[in-house]
């Protein structure tokens, strides 16, 4: 298999419901952090930000921006700083794979990530009594002291690979590998697929004139694109350093 998995998120369709956040956390056994956790210390591999255009009253407009690991393809910052080689860019899929079990918790990668898409396990994962029975068996539970992030639901990729092999096929069926966030989105704002496949819907979406990437000027070549027909939203990507003030999560 040789793919470059990525996403295109249509910001005109995102209603900020948070279903993607829930589904991601449920799929990845993300523990509910203790009550003292804040927006900075919580664990949100998928995090939806609310950004406004700065106007008030009838001219006010808001957009919701789901942010996950961007799976940077060029000089991936977190990969280059990790002393443990706990993260690598997978050659076959382009997924930037974080190995929490190898991480020693220095958090250098959290500093390096321009998108603040990495989260630290400040506490032991703990669920209310009995709730561990509802954990997803496909994903390992992490421990305190390691960094984690979105891995594009690689457990689902594994299931798709296994299913394809059992059926005697060499390539996976794209319909079998859908990350939790895309599956959950009620408006279909999140589109996931193989950016290297010209026939994949995500390819044409990523190459549409309305598509843009956050912090593209850094040159990390993120594989998560955003799309909007609204000019002020597109302008955000360019002026993001000014608009960082508006967002509740920096």
């Amino acid at each position: 298999m040789s793919a470059r998995y990525g996403m295109v998120i249509d910001l005109d369709r995102c209603t900020g419901c948070g279903s993607c956040m829930m589904a991601c956390a449920a799929e990845n056994n993300v523990p509910p952090a203790p009550p003292k956790a804040t927006t900075r210390t919580g664990l949100t591999p998928m995090l939806v930000h609310k950004v406004s255009n700065g106007a008030e009253g009838a001219a006010k407009r808001e957009v919701f921006i789901p942010v996950t690991c961007m799976h940077c393809a060029n000089e991936t910052p977190c990969v280059s700083v990790c002393p443990q080689q706990a993260v690598e860019v997978d050659k076959a899929t382009g997924i930037v794979m974080q190995m929490p079990q190898r991480c020693l918790g220095c958090r250098y990668c959290m500093v390096a990530c321009p998108y603040h898409a990495r989260y630290f396990n400040w506490w032991d994962p703990a669920w209310p009594a009995g709730m561990e029975k509802s954990l997803n068996p496909g994903v390992a539970v992490r421990m305190r002291g390691v960094v984690e992030k979105c891995n594009l639901c690689h457990a689902r990729l594994h299931s798709a690979m296994e299913k394809a092999t059992a059926a005697g096929k060499k390539e996976i069926d794209p319909a079998d590998y859908i990350p939790a966030c895309m599956e959950a989105c009620p408006t279909g704002a999140i589109l996931f697929g193989n950016l290297a496949d010209k026939d994949d819907a995500v390819y044409s979406a990523a190459h549409s004139p309305d598509a843009f990437r956050l912090l593209a000027r850094l040159g990390t070549e993120p594989k998560v694109y955003y799309k909007s027909e609204q000019a002020w939203v597109k302008a955000l990507a360019e002026r993001d350093s000014d608009h960082a003030k508006e967002s509740k999560h920096v």
């Binding site: 690598e88 997978d90 050659k91 076959a92 899929t93 997924i95 794979m97 190995m99 929490p100 079990q101 496909g138 994903v139 390992a140 539970v141 891995n151 690689h154 457990a155 990729l157 594994h158 299931s159 690979m161 296994e162 299913k163 394809a164 092999t165 059992a166 059926a167 005697g168």
Partner: protein, 196 residues
């Protein structure tokens, strides 16, 4: 104190440490644990005619591996007691009748963050069960389960040889063993390929 005496005392300490490290330590490190009941593969394959591993240790249609067969597979023949053995009585009374799963101690159990796909290695890679698990299917005794007191994993993961030198082909299921075989066959997996 003569230097000969030094040497003697030194050698004595050295020898003591060697014995402790090579003989006593491996014995102390592992604790033997009992399986919930005895199971002899050979007896079963002879009596039932199920000679293939995947008669009970099957892959389902999605490619998922059943691992230890669920109680209902055993119940296919042992819904009632067929013989007089104590093990069978335990199976039928404690697990088949109440509909509970037998708490087998799995000697090849990997950590939670490992993804090993039997479908991909067997159907895709052409490996046979015995390539990694040995000819266990032909044994007529229940294998002893030894558990590492500190790490909690089965001895089969590290392998029987404490030094890992001169070990049998399928003695050991550590990551380095997987990597060695992948290197031999020139199959790259990356971190993503094997980890959850």
């Amino acid at each position: 104190m003569t230097s000969r005496r030094y040497l003697l005392v030194f050698g004595f300490g050295f020898a003591l440490a060697m014995v402790a490290g090579w003989v006593a330590f491996p014995r102390a490190l592992y604790v033997r644990r009992e399986q919930p009941l005895e199971f002899h593969h050979k007896t079963h394959s002879e009596k039932s005619g199920l000679t293939q591993c995947d008669s009970c240790h099957a892959l389902n249609s999605d490619g998922e591996f059943a691992g230890m067969p669920p109680t209902e597979i055993c119940a296919g023949c042992h819904a009632e007691k067929l013989g007089t053995s104590k093990s069978e009585a335990t199976l039928v009374d404690n697990y088949v009748k109440p509909g509970r799963e037998t708490p087998w101690l799995v000697s090849s159990r990997q950590p939670a963050n490992v993804w090993f796909s039997h479908a991909i290695h067997m159907r895709g890679g052409g490996l046979a069960c015995s390539d990694c698990h040995g000819n266990y299917g032909e044994s007529d005794e229940t294998r002893v389960y030894e558990q590492n007191r500190i790490s909690g994993y089965s001895r089969d993961i590290w392998g029987h040889s404490i030094s890992r030198l001169r070990r049998a082909p399928h003695d050991g299921m550590k990551m380095s063993d997987c990597e060695a075989c992948h290197r031999r066959h020139n199959i790259e997996a990356g971190c993503l390929g094997c980890h959850e």
